[in-house]
């Protein structure tokens, strides 16, 4: 951090000012002039919260993607299919058993099993052939998409939010002052906050596991140099299978989250594949903190964009990607 400030004082200053302005926009009571210029504060705060929580969802999808890429150099373009598969499984389980949590567990396990099968049956046979692996994942995503369309049809599914999470919660953020002088507080759906906190917890746990445990050390060593790691006697194939299973399982969990937040239908797989591609391109391939930063940026850009410049929301996302590629082709937080 301090090195970044030393090396790029101008950028650091701009970042600090941007963060300060953002915090002021969130916490201060807006003066009337500002409300006239860009609309009500409630709308802005809702967009910010939607963006952050959507970023949490994107992080869940993209972290699995980036983990798999970082270790195995395998661009898994079937990752969106795993997401959708997890969502459908979560829907089936949570409607039949009535337990939302059980839906998560089963979705994680089943998508992880699919991931293991993919790694063992398909990718192990073509190790080191990046392009061929990518092609295979494209083929797989087509096959999976059609199989899921066959099994589930083209309908929209929404996973029922459990009773104890339904309803809004009042946050200690003032959106406006009534004429009587009472502050009006922001009300926000509890379930989205819970899911966001859960994704933060998962992210921090992943970071700790990668940086503080022996398995994490093996995985980081594998990211840097697979061959040397294998030569030291680590059973690298086992590590590959484990990482692939975990990454796929994360996509499955994200599917359940997405099914609760939004809805599940054919085409969502491609949407989330695109989202995770952009997130990891922006954040940096193979980097978990990069995925978190990228997910936050893209989620915020998407939601703020859809509120303030509705027809060009997708262009904002895309422009961010272009700018990052132009300035830092390896992504914001990649180590090169």
């Amino acid at each position: 951090m301090s090195r970044f400030v030393e090396r790029h004082p101008a950028w650091a200053l701009i970042t600090i000012i941007a963060i300060a302005v953002g915090l002021w926009l969130v916490f201060a009571v807006w003066p009337p002039g500002l409300e006239e210029a860009i609309g009500r504060k409630r709308v802005f705060l809702n967009a910010v919260f939607n963006g952050i929580t959507l970023g949490g969802l994107y992080f869940l999808v993209a972290s699995g993607f980036t983990l798999i890429f970082g270790l195995m150099r395998n661009v898994n373009l079937a990752h969106g299919s795993l997401y959708l598969f997890g969502g459908y499984v979560g829907y089936a389980i949570s409607t039949s058993s009535g337990s939302w949590i059980l839906g998560f567990i089963v979705a994680f396990i089943l998508t992880a099993v699919v991931g293991v099968l993919l790694q063992v049956i398909v990718f192990r046979r073509m190790e080191g052939q990046d392009l061929r692996q990518t092609m295979v994942t494209i083929g797989l995503s087509i096959v999976f998409a059609d199989l899921m369309l066959w099994a589930c049809g083209g309908d929209f599914y929404q996973i029922q939010t459990p009773n104890w999470l339904i309803g809004p919660i009042e946050l200690p953020l003032v959106t406006a002052i009534k004429s009587s002088g009472d502050p009006v507080y922001l009300r926000y759906p509890l379930v989205r906050l819970v899911i966001f906190v859960a994704s933060v917890v998962i992210g921090v746990a992943m970071w700790l596991a990668l940086n503080r445990t022996r398995i994490g050390m093996i995985i980081r060593a594998g990211v840097d140099d697979r061959d040397i790691l294998a030569a030291t006697g680590v059973r690298i194939q086992l590590v590959f299978v484990g990482v692939f299973a975990f990454g796929a399982g994360l996509a499955g969990i994200a599917g359940v989250v997405g099914g609760t937040f939004q809805s599940l239908s054919p085409g969502e797989d491609i949407r989330f594949l695109l989202a995770s591609l952009v997130v990891v391109i922006v954040g940096g391939m193979g980097s978990i903190p990069g995925a978190a930063l990228g997910a936050l940026i893209i989620g915020l850009a998407e939601q703020l964009g859809s509120v303030y410049i509705p027809t060009y929301a997708i262009v904002v996302t895309f422009l961010i990607m272009v700018v990052v590629l132009a300035i830092r082709p390896q992504g914001l937080l990649a180590r090169r």
Partner: protein
């Protein structure tokens, strides 16, 4: 149907003739002449359904896939945005030309609208390429896929230029010299001429100094840079050429269907172009056309075929996906590669048999 059997023969012979000299490999190849003759007299043989729905569509898709084959085969850059460039060019024809949405279309005559569309689409593709060459290998796939997907969502959301998800309908097609060029037979010849032009351009370019330098860049960019070649400039130039080819195909496509909508530039369609190129084989320019023929035949007849087998006719994409997987698994060079391996196998059998006789 004869095309399906003759085209691979042409390929087999071509490769044998290739090392001989740096001339057109087709000239001494009877099969290539036969295919050319059949393609020329096709309107006499085929019904109008086959002429447009099968052969013209094959040639248009083949040209799009050809632009990908040029980038992937000679430049080593797998770009998933070739269909997006074609779609952009198609949109531009509809926007600048005459269509059923007069509040969007500017109503230019086709001879102004088409060059404009080609120029804009080429510029678009070149810019995308300039972005994509900042990265390598699998990153290129991801960035071009992201560009394609962004364009798809943009056309869906933008109503001012792209008319949202309804797209632009009843696009006018050219009439001049007293001929309706969208009538089946003239249109087939336009498509054939453009496809042939692109095919020979790619073939010529692959043996021209630029193409050879590009192949050098594909095989060893560092050594080429050390030799004084500007690696990125070659790659961007390759993107520019491929974009032009794709843009031509896009113009033909919008004339073929007379409409353009976000559905035709969807991510699935982008991936279809990759499938066509890979199934056909991305080492030779004939590959994309073979792949396109297989793809179009499957797309048109898979439904009837599956129903006849007692299966669900809607599983066409499953069939395509499984076929693609099988090709990727067993042949790195698509159908062409399979054919060549089979030929070599046959030749080995023959030589072994004759050798045995000579010994005895």
């Amino acid at each position: 149907m004869s095309l399906a059997h003759d085209a691979p023969v042409a390929v087999g012979r071509t490769t044998k003739a290739q090392p001989a000299a740096r001339t057109w490999p087709e000239i001494n190849n009877p099969a290539a002449w036969a295919v050319a003759a059949i393609l020329l007299i096709m309107p006499l043989i085929a019904s109008s359904f086959f002429l447009i729905e099968i052969f013209a569509t094959t040639l248009i898709l083949g040209t799009m896939a050809l632009s990908l084959m040029f980038l992937a085969g000679y430049g080593g850059m797998v770009s998933l945005m070739q269909l997006t460039i074609a779609g952009f060019s198609a949109y531009m024809v509809a926007v600048f030309g005459v269509s059923g949405n007069p509040n969007i279309s500017l109503g230019w005559p086709w001879w102004l609208a088409v060059p404009m569309a080609l120029a804009l689409a080429t510029a678009f593709g070149t810019l995308g390429g300039a972005l994509a060459v900042r990265t390598e290998g699998i990153y290129t796939i991801m960035i071009t896929l992201a560009i394609g997907a962004a364009f798809y969502y943009f056309t869906n959301q933008n109503w001012a230029i792209f008319n949202g998800h309804t797209g632009i309908n009843t696009v006018a097609t050219p009439h001049f010299w007293g001929v309706n060029w969208r009538a089946d037979i003239p249109f087939y010849y336009i498509v054939l001429a453009v496809a042939a032009l692109c095919y020979f351009a790619v073939e010529y370019l692959s043996r021209a100094p630029f193409g050879l330098a590009l192949q050098g860049v594909r095989d060893n960019p560092r050594r080429m840079a050390a030799l004084g070649f500007n690696v990125n400039a070659h790659r961007v130039a390759a993107y520019a050429f491929a974009s032009f080819v794709a843009a031509l195909a896009g113009v033909l496509q919008v004339w073929n269907y007379r409409q353009i909508s976000p559905g035709s530039v969807s991510v699935g369609a982008c991936i279809d172009v990759l499938i066509i190129a890979v199934v056909g084989g991305i080492t030779r320019p004939i590959g994309p056309f073979i792949g396109a023929l297989i793809f179009v035949l499957l797309r048109t007849f898979a439904l009837d075929f599956l129903v006849r087998l007692g299966l669900d006719g809607n599983r066409f994409r499953l069939l395509i996906g499984l076929g693609f997987l099988a090709i990727v698994f067993w042949s790195s060079d698509g159908v062409i590669g399979l054919w060549q391996r089979w030929r070599q196998h046959q030749r080995r059998e023959v030589s072994r048999a004759s050798g045995g006789r000579g010994h005895g």
